[in-house]
């Protein structure tokens, strides 16, 4: 199959970027989107041009490293997919695809399609952890947890921190990302110790990193590869208000 790619090329964070057109032919529809970029990069390397830089790691849909906005959709046209799991069969022969980096003020472009998402790490550092004894892993059944609660906590814990929610949000808010971690830990007994502090620390870190506020449009949950639910944001708001009103003394 044939595709016309219009890819964002940008030298570094300070320079101005532009779309560059690449015509691809002899593509197999069983190729993943990233494999197609590999093929394109190989042809560029042979010609002696600078290759297109993009983020990727596991290519199994679990690490959250790949990004890209394809035709305006974070991680491409398939809902709840990562870019590495998107295959060319999702597109039609002869399609023109616009490939852009995740865009947000808190995600500065490093080069081409590669963005710096360390702002999300800083939010996690602010409170996305629990206090626990170090050493051997504790006995799994030492703290009884209801099956439904464990499942629900895992649904939130499934967030891979890819940043598609931020890229999609019209306000560049990381509310879905923050709320996934807050919900995950608020549901479990292990997370209850820092329950009040965590939500305030993480929401403050979120604001300090320059993310916007949530308008509840729900677009983030529609693109999330891990299907983190919008209800997590609502739960985060509950946790926040509870924490502000609740005093430990």
């Amino acid at each position: 199959m044939k595709l016309t790619l219009k890819i964002w090329r940008q030298e570094n964070a300070k320079s101005k970027g532009k779309m560059v057109t690449y015509k691809m032919s002899d593509l197999s529809e069983d190729m993943s989107f990233l494999e197609m970029l590999d093929v394109l990069n190989q042809s560029l390397a042979i010609k002696g041009e600078r290759v297109i830089e993009f983020d990727h790691d596991c290519r199994e849909g679990i690490c959250g490293q790949c990004s890209l906005v394809i035709n305006g959709q974070a991680h491409g046209p398939e809902s709840h997919y990562t870019t590495c799991q998107t295959h060319l069969r999702s597109f039609k022969d002869g399609d023109t695809l616009f490939v852009e980096p995740f865009r947000a003020n808190s995600f500065p472009v490093i080069r081409d399609l590669k963005v710096d998402r360390s702002s999300m790490d800083k939010i996690i550092q602010a409170g996305g952890y629990i206090s626990s004894f170090t050493g051997m892993a504790p006995e799994a059944n030492a703290i009884p947890i209801h099956h439904d609660i464990a499942e629900s906590a895992f649904d939130s814990a499934a967030c891979i921190g890819c940043g598609a929610c931020v890229a999609t949000c019209k306000n560049s808010s990381a509310a879905l990302f923050v709320s996934a971690k807050i919900s995950h830990l608020a549901k479990l007994p292990q997370g209850k110790v820092e329950r009040e502090e965590r939500v305030q620390w993480m929401v403050n870190a979120h604001d300090n990193e320059g993310f916007g506020s949530c308008s509840n449009t729900g677009a983030c949950a529609m693109v999330c590869p891990q299907e983190v639910q919008l209800i997590d944001i609502t739960r985060m708001n509950y946790e926040y208000n509870r924490a502000v009103c609740h005093s430990k003394e």
């Binding site: 305006g72 003020n105 306000n171 808010s173 929401v203 403050n204 506020s213 949530c214 449009t217 208000n241």
Partner: protein
């Protein structure tokens, strides 16, 4: 790390303020609608004089508006309402400014299929409502309550709504309000953190039905009065 305390200071807190003020304005909208409906009660509804020389819609509406202006608890609530509306607007501007700052470079291609247009454009809808509100208050609130140049509010309303383009302005304002409410009611509950899933789904449907009923009832009044 410095933690901003308080219900209204962070990105989550500022949305609380939007929700509280928004819900209070909705409470007012219901009361306002009930008052408006007096305008369209047919005279045959008043078989006898039933209260304080009130024998028709004209008298009842004027008695009602006289009561609103001269009953002091209503005046207090009115002042709370002015504060709520102004806070709602200022908070919206502050949130929007921060959100604009958070956005990076614009996408060359955008896909909007993942959210509704009215949820994305609450600011534009709010601006339309705001412009409408200025026109609306200049017509009635200023004339009747502040300048006190007009004493028969019923006649003033009727005379104003005989102009077709005023009716059009009202319809535009009301349609914007309807869409603002559909997203606003759901979003307010989400912002305040009312999260159990069953309740949230119910609120979504209540928000839709409530907004529809409000918009339709508000919208038919100017049309009825135009043809009256």
């Amino acid at each position: 790390m410095a933690v901003k305390k308080g219900l209204f200071k962070t990105s989550v807190g500022r949305k609380n303020l939007m929700a509280f003020t928004g819900l209070f304005i909705i409470f007012f909208l219901v009361i306002h609608l009930i008052g408006n409906l007096i305008l369209v009660i047919p005279n045959s509804f008043f078989p006898i004089e039933f209260w304080n020389n009130v024998a028709n819609g004209h008298d009842m509406y004027n008695a009602y508006s006289h009561f609103l202006v001269h009953f002091w608890p209503v005046t207090i609530v009115a002042y709370i309402l002015y504060v709520a509306i102004i806070t709602h607007i200022i908070d919206a501007l502050l949130i929007t400014l921060q959100n604009k700052k958070s956005q990076g470079e614009k996408y060359i291609v955008t896909d909007n299929s993942t959210s509704s247009w009215y949820s994305r454009n609450m600011g534009i809808l709010g601006t339309v409502i705001g412009v409408f509100l200025v026109i609306h208050m200049a017509q009635f609130w200023l004339q009747y309550k502040v300048l006190k140049v007009e004493h028969d509010l019923y006649e003033l309303v009727l005379a104003t709504l005989k102009t077709w383009w005023f009716v059009l302005v009202y319809e535009i304002g009301i349609i914007a309000l309807g869409f603002h409410l559909v997203h606003g009611i759901e979003s307010a509950h989400r912002s305040l953190g009312i999260y159990p899933k069953k309740i949230m789904n119910t609120i979504k449907y209540i928000a839709l039905c409530f907004s529809l009923v409000m918009a339709i009832l508000y919208a038919i009044i100017p049309i009825i009065l135009y043809f009256k």
